[in-house]
């Protein structure tokens, strides 16, 4: 149910984004990209938590906000310091996404079995 709603929400959001595109200034596109990456990781983490009956709405929502902000900030800080700090966010959230997907897959397969 939650997975279905999440996928629907994503699809509807994408369709809305195509129909009524939001204008993101090119200067900030990098930070928005990092924030979106963190957001997607949070969604997958939330689904994982729900499937494992350990979901906490407060943790989920705060995690979504804070992680997105931190990812964007890391990117911005890295640009100011002249180092690719954004890579840290990419590696961390990327690998977390992989882990969450793996766990979700295992839980779903176990449930079916």
């Amino acid at each position: 149910m939650v997975g279905f709603v999440t996928v629907c929400g994503l699809v509807i959001g994408i369709v809305l984004g195509i129909v009524r595109p939001v204008h993101i200034p090119a200067v900030y596109s990098k930070y928005v990209g990092l924030a979106l990456l963190a957001g997607m990781d949070s969604i997958l983490g939330g689904i994982k938590g729900y499937l494992k009956d350990s979901f906490d709405a407060t943790v989920f929502f705060s995690g979504f906000l804070i992680n997105s902000l931190v990812a964007a900030l890391l990117g911005y800080l890295g640009d100011q310091l002249g180092i690719d700090l954004y890579l840290a966010a990419v590696v961390v959230f990327g690998s977390r996404m992989y882990q969450n997907i793996a766990i979700i897959r295992r839980v779903l397969l176990k449930k079916e079995a």
Binding site: M1, V2, G9, V11, G13, P21, V22, I24
Partner: protein
Amino acid sequence: MRKQATSSLRSIVIIFGLISLFVGFLLPGQARVVREMKQSYQNEDPKDLIRVIKDLQQRKAELSGEQQELTQKVDQYIRASDDTAAQVKQLEGEIAVLRQRMGATALEGPGIRVTLTEQSSGATPSILADEDLLLLLSDLWASGAEAISLNGIRLTDTTSVYRAGLNIRVGDKVTNMPLVIDAIGDAENMSKGLQIPGGALDLLNLRRISAIVQKVNPISIK
């Protein structure tokens, strides 16, 4: 417990729905910006950019040269067409004059009227001779007459005028005395031209042909 679980599930679903909606909404915008940035030069290697600039500068120089050539060509064409236009205008003017002299166009304007009357009194009646009439007409043409008519018959360059007995033949038409000669042109010039010593009027006077010159405005000759 069950009610709490249901409401808890509902709130979880709502949260997931909203957050995934938000993330989904931002994704196309982000993709579009990245696509636009790729199409621009912001993220290119400086060496590539320098090469692009050099290519563009060379292309610009070539196009400037081409543009100059074409501008010169256009100027030439304009000058040629101006000349052509001037020639055409001149020819049109000449055609208009010729049409007038051919009698093809009706004219109206200031001019003079010469009325010739033979005198039948006296020992010998005076008769207007061909040469006298022709002299008068050529004096009028020479003084700037643009059109001449004899008793309403238009004279052209090729109209023959001669005496045939009592009649006067003007081209293929016949008329007789008295003769009213209308001439459109500079009235002053034409009347002075007629009055020169030894000119047509003097001769007509000698021949006892009465010639009355009047300045008329306008004269209409068809």
